[in-house]
């Protein structure tokens, strides 16, 4: 059995919402010299359902940002397929792919680096419109002002420059730009991580409001599990290039089926001293292995508190399969978690 065949395709549950994005067996390897490669994303399959927020969590180096760039096709896949609706993005190139990109927008982590300091806010927000030649002249300016209003900024700010805004306001500008073309999917890659706590809440609430208003679908990537739980309908957990668990957010958080998810959850401090003092940390031994030479079998077995080594955990890669209804995990012993 090859590593990739081991990954089961998530079975759409009956009556569930239509899927907007389907990712099938996607692999992304980056060459690392001497014939080796960094296996950043190594055979993942999932779907993003229309109108939902799919959270994606994992620690640094797990491949979550690479996955975001694959979904938006800012990076080509090494192998595998990505569908937007019925269109296979991974088979498109050039102008055809560019046209599809209108549906896929991204909000980035750093509100300082992601806005060109020499462009006015109006031009930044209108850039997608200009790129696709959608609106011109007065219509364009009206749209810019409308977008500014939508994200809670003064519409007359369109002639100002990014440095005149605070971090939270800049992130709102980034949101406005992402919405300019009425996209279907917005990928938020650590979109609130650089902001202060009180400002984070503003942006989270804004994203929630906009989703309702414009029927947006989000792929929300963050390392902060509390925020992900708050905003997501379903949550996907990644470890070393693989998806280890997918479930609705209540399921992932209250009844994790993968020991890594459980460890991750136990590590999040709860802002309540009485509860926090009573919580027990699930300690992971060692460090995240190198994605150049990931461990055999289950990639988590080197750090797993319940692994049975060598067999099966170090030998057989556990498939991502449904453990209870709509709750997928890739673990041989998920009943012991």
């Amino acid at each position: 059995m090859t590593a990739q065949a081991a990954e089961a395709r998530p079975a759409p549950s009956p009556g569930a919402a239509k899927s907007l994005v389907r990712v099938e067996q996607v692999v992304k390897h980056f060459p690392a010299g001497f014939g080796t490669s960094v296996k950043a994303v190594d055979g993942v399959s999932f779907e993003i359902r229309e109108g939902e927020t799919l959270g994606l969590v994992g620690e640094s180096g797990c491949g979550k940002s690479t996955l975001a760039r694959l979904v938006t096709q800012l990076l080509p896949v090494t192998s595998g397929k990505i569908f937007l609706g019925d269109v296979e993005l991974t088979s498109l190139g050039g102008e055809k792919l560019r046209q599809q990109r209108r549906q896929l927008q991204m909000i980035f982590q750093d509100p300082f680096a992601s806005l060109d300091p020499r462009m006015t806010v109006g031009d930044i927000i209108a850039e997608p419109l200009d790129n696709f030649g959608v609106l011109r002249g007065r219509k364009r300016n009206e749209r810019v002002q409308e977008l500014l209003r939508i994200v809670g900024l003064n519409p007359n700010f369109n002639n100002r420059y990014p440095h005149e805004f605070s971090g939270g306001q800049r992130q709102r500008i980034g949101v406005a730009r992402a919405l300019a073309l009425n996209p279907k999917l917005v990928v938020c890659d650590e979109a609130i991580s650089a902001l202060d706590v009180s400002i984070q809440a503003q942006i989270v609430n804004l994203l929630e409001d906009l989703q309702q208003k414009f029927k947006l679908t989000y792929l929300f990537i963050a390392h902060d599990l509390s925020v992900v739980r708050h905003i997501s309908d379903r949550v996907m957990v990644m470890y070393l290039g693989k998806i280890v668990e997918v479930a609705d957010s209540a399921g992932t958080y209250t009844d994790p089926k993968h020991p890594y998810t459980k460890a991750l959850l136990s590590a999040i401090p709860v802002p309540d001293p009485k509860i926090q003092r009573g919580r027990r940390l699930v300690e992971l031994s060692g460090e995240i292995p190198s994605p150049i030479h990931p461990p055999s079998g289950c990639r988590f077995h080197t750090r797993c508190p319940i692994a049975r080594v060598p067999t099966p955990c170090a030998e057989i890669e556990p498939p991502l399969e449904e453990k209870v209804r709509d709750h997928l995990a890739a673990c041989h012993f998920s009943q012991d978690v």
């Binding site: 994200v151 609430n205 708050h230 802002p271």
Partner: protein, 350 residues
Amino acid sequence: MAAPILQVRNLRTQFSTQDGIVKAVDDVSFELYPGETLGIVGESGSGKSVTALSILRLVPEPGRIVSGQILFHNEDLMHMSDEDVREIRGRDIAMIFQDPQSSLNPVLRVGFQIDEAMIAHGKSKPDAHVRTIELLKRVRIPAAETRVKDFPHQLSGGMRQRAMIAMGLANAPQILIADEPTTALDVTVQAQILELLGDLNRELGTAIIMITHNMGVVAGLCTRVIVMYAGQIVEQGPVDQIFENPQHPYTWSLLKSIPRVDAVRHERLRSIEGIAPDLLRPPSGCRFHPRCPFRIEKCYTDEPTLKEVAPDDLAACWVTMDRARKEMGADEMVDIRPGAGSGVHKGRES
């Protein structure tokens, strides 16, 4: 209660910039007791890090401690010579920083850098070396004997922070100041470092000042907490009290604005209106008043001072949350600007 080992009194630290004077820390006073874990929380620009740097007289140019006292065992660090302060720094009061990457010298072996911290305070080289290995074991670095010879880049982020903690503990200080020591780390590593700090506090009796923006970190590690806003302390008290029944609207809003991983149901977050004030021109009266949903007329003009609002709980507020709840319906308030909104919670849900 025992006598405090550290007393900060009326500390004012300012930065002179081209645009004027930034009052980064403006009249801050607090005590630290032996063996205590004290959290200082606040957002960027609240003055928490400058407070920490001021304690060790490490404020970088163009910053300057303008006035105040820093009493370590009743001796004022402000009136000591540079040499005397250097003696205390690292020996009696040690500090660890957010980014272990930039706090370690990349071209020197980790072990050597820890040795150095002890040699500077009079230990012999061989003695220091033996203790370095002990320390690395103490902070749970595996294979400490071989790791001492590693260069910083050979260690992971978590290991580097452990090495920094080992360095901080090298001279068995009475106070360890940790400035956002886990902010750059992954959550699982953060949890390990926090556990380590808690153990060290219990076993060695080292008092810890934990500076962080993360309320969860304070909840887990600290017994007492100071909340800072715009260069001033707005509330301080025992963690249980402050987290359960905060009296300052800023503390209250901060706690309401963070989603909790153990949340049972989805509740809309309460964000804080507006942005942090410009410390070149701080607002008149209470500095939080432009963002405060419970401001009254007095708040615009009169500056509140810290006073006891509940047992052991000091807050600088003319209103306080008890009154805001009783008279202003604080608990029923929600954001009223849908869509764009998300910022304001000035009214009630209609």
